[in-house]
């Protein structure tokens, strides 16, 4: 596979997080676009590529949004890939830049959160959902992930305290990220364990909070980023695999296992040289699957590994091994803004690597691993994606 040389990821934007909102998806997507233009100094006609991910566009689509925003792109993508949207967007956009199909691509994930809209999305998520999962208790994603969590606990002896270590460390990170919807509250392991059950073994603080918000970034050539005076980061390696391990009875691993070695080979280093890990944390067990499948620990060892690893952004925890994880608090503390949640880790990594993170800045951040996971069609998440990003040496 060709490398991603010459491609710059710039201008990370997170916008408008709110628990509920009267605004539609186009408001969030358009607002992210406005901020991308303001931050880069570009005008609407400079944007000749548009990638959009959203669950709540209703009758609209990426193409109808071009008229909303008066854009005339010559490259367009709509990517309904949930938690893998951000990484898939950056891969597609990077190739388009390399091929010369577009010069500046805006990649945006955004969703509204109207009253009771989550219920509608969950009930109509896919045909398999309608026929074979929603009728069984209408638990939405909680039910499928609780199945996975229970089996993971059965197989590997994970305890609730182990999942709690992830949630508690992420809340500490969120306490330093002002946009996090739960960042104003601290969280202790005792509070985590005392949370009410939702779909046991999953309890309230294992579940992401659906919300509204938008995330986005620009993809362009390094020359263009340099001439615009923008900070950027580059893609050392990225890959994806979907509906992997399709004969497994239940999802205790994802597609990452099939390409993780290639990823590290292309990056030229191993997990030890990563300064931060951003996993897709819709539930802590899914972060554990990613830690294992991406090579940070062996299968089934994530519970012990998170006990022995300081996951805080500033390394202030007692453990000797440090790996900042979900440095803005992840979805568990920031909120899950629909498809924007698939952009959260990418955008946060870009902020960290360009030194623009603010109070939750990881010191001397050079390399970030970002992972995406998405689309519970029936009993498992179908998308897997991962990317290794690096600070640019200008």
């Amino acid at each position: 596979m060709k490398d991603y040389a010459g491609v710059a990821l710039t201008t990370p934007v997170s916008f408008g997080y709110a628990r509920q909102s009267p605004h539609g998806a186009a408001w969030f997507i358009g607002s992210v676009l406005r901020q991308l233009l303001a931050a880069s100094g570009l005008g609407p006609d400079d944007i000749d590529g548009l990638a959009v991910s959203s669950f709540s566009l209703g009758a609209d689509s990426a193409i109808t949004l071009t008229q909303h925003f008066q854009l005339s792109p010559r490259w367009i993508e709509q990517m309904p890939y949930g938690g893998a949207s951000g990484i898939l967007a950056l891969r597609r956009a990077a190739r388009a830049i390399q091929a010369g199909d577009a010069e500046i691509i805006a990649c945006i994930g955004g969703d509204g959160a109207a009253h009771r809209s989550f219920e509608g999305t969950a009930a109509n998520f896919s045909n398999f959902t309608i026929d074979a999962s929603f009728p069984y208790g209408a638990g939405g994603p909680n039910a499928a992930f609780a199945m996975i969590t229970q089996r993971y606990m059965d197989e590997f002896g994970a305890r609730r305290e182990d999942f709690g270590a992830i949630s508690v460390a992420q809340r500490y990170n969120a306490n330093h990220y002002p946009a996090a919807l739960l960042g104003h509250k601290t969280l202790t392991l005792e509070q985590y364990l005392a949370a009410r059950p939702i779909a046991s073994p999953v309890h309230l603080l294992d579940c992401v909070m659906p919300c509204a918000g938008g995330e986005g970034f620009l993809v362009m050539s390094e020359e263009r980023a340099r001439s615009l005076g923008l900070e950027w980061c580059k893609i050392l390696a990225a890959d994806e695999l979907h509906n992997a391990h399709r004969d497994d009875d239940i999802q205790l691993r994802g597609g990452w296992t099939e390409y993780v070695d290639r990823l590290w080979n292309r990056a030229g280093f191993g997990p030890d040289e990563v300064d931060m890990l951003q996993t897709y944390d819709d539930y802590p067990v899914i972060s554990m699957l990613q830690m294992e499948d991406l090579g940070f620990c062996a299968k089934g060892e994530a519970p012990g590994w998170v006990r022995d690893t300081d996951l805080r952004f500033d390394g202030s925890g007692p453990q000797a091994r440090k790996l900042p994880h979900n440095t803005s608090g992840g979805q568990l503390s920031v909120g899950q803004a629909g498809a924007a949640a698939g952009y959260l880790g990418v955008v946060e990594s870009m902020r960290q690597l360009t030194g623009s993170a603010g109070a939750n800045q990881v010191a001397q951040a050079r390399h970030a691993m970002v992972s995406g996971f998405g689309m519970i069609n029936y009993d498992r998440g179908l998308c897997s994606a991962a990317a290794i990003l690096a600070r640019s040496e200008r």
Partner: protein, 189 residues
């Protein structure tokens, strides 16, 4: 003209929590309604491929193995083993919300011996243990369908030793889960 009936019917349509009667999710795809019809006469019917013999679930348009267009509904053995199980304490659907207010709703993921994974309402009363958390993975179970009060066929998982050969036995288990009656809010609309 009074506006009350209009307001009442609006509330009934748009606010499930205000309804007197709440039922399990009604919506199915056209393939889901085929599943309902195929399951009326038998304990469990699934799609089988006439060309390659593979069994399908959830219902599909084409065979998942050979992509052939030769799927037929056939009575299928419901024997299988537990893959995982949960107790729902929270639901997005009013019927389950009302049932949950009394006790958590148990759901199972089961691997049938014919090779498919199904989600099923878990009839805990047929097992010795009380909570799903104490049921071990790989516990042998039996799965059958019964029509719920939304007139959809739904899967029900019971302990493997449970007698389910007769329609009345299956009916009693479905009734015991509360699936055959709507969840009632007496003061509702």
């Amino acid at each position: 003209m009074s506006t009350t009936p209009t307001m009442q019917s609006r509330l009934k349509l748009n606010r499930p929590s205000l309804r007197k009667l709440a039922r399990p999710p009604k919506q199915r795809t056209p393939l889901g309604t085929d599943f309902n019809a195929a399951n009326l006469p038998v304990a469990l019917a699934l799609q089988h491929c006439r060309d390659c013999g593979s069994v399908q679930y959830p219902p599909r348009e084409l065979c998942r193995q050979c992509l052939g267009d030769a799927l037929v509904w056939r009575a299928t053995a419901g024997s299988g083993s537990l893959v995982s199980r949960v107790e729902l304490h929270h639901s997005l659907w009013e019927y389950f919300k009302r049932r949950l207010a009394e006790k958590p709703w148990p759901v199972a993921s089961v691997r049938l011996d014919c090779g498919v994974i199904v989600f099923a309402h878990l009839a805990l009363q047929t097992f010795d243990s009380e909570a799903p958390g104490t049921l071990a993975a790989d516990t042998a179970v039996q799965v059958f369908t019964h029509t719920d009060c939304s007139l959809n066929a739904v899967m029900i998982a019971v302990a493997a030793s449970t007698p389910t050969a007769s329609r009345s036995q299956r009916h009693a288990i479905a009734a015991g889960l509360g699936l055959l009656e709507p969840a009632i809010k007496p003061e509702g609309i």
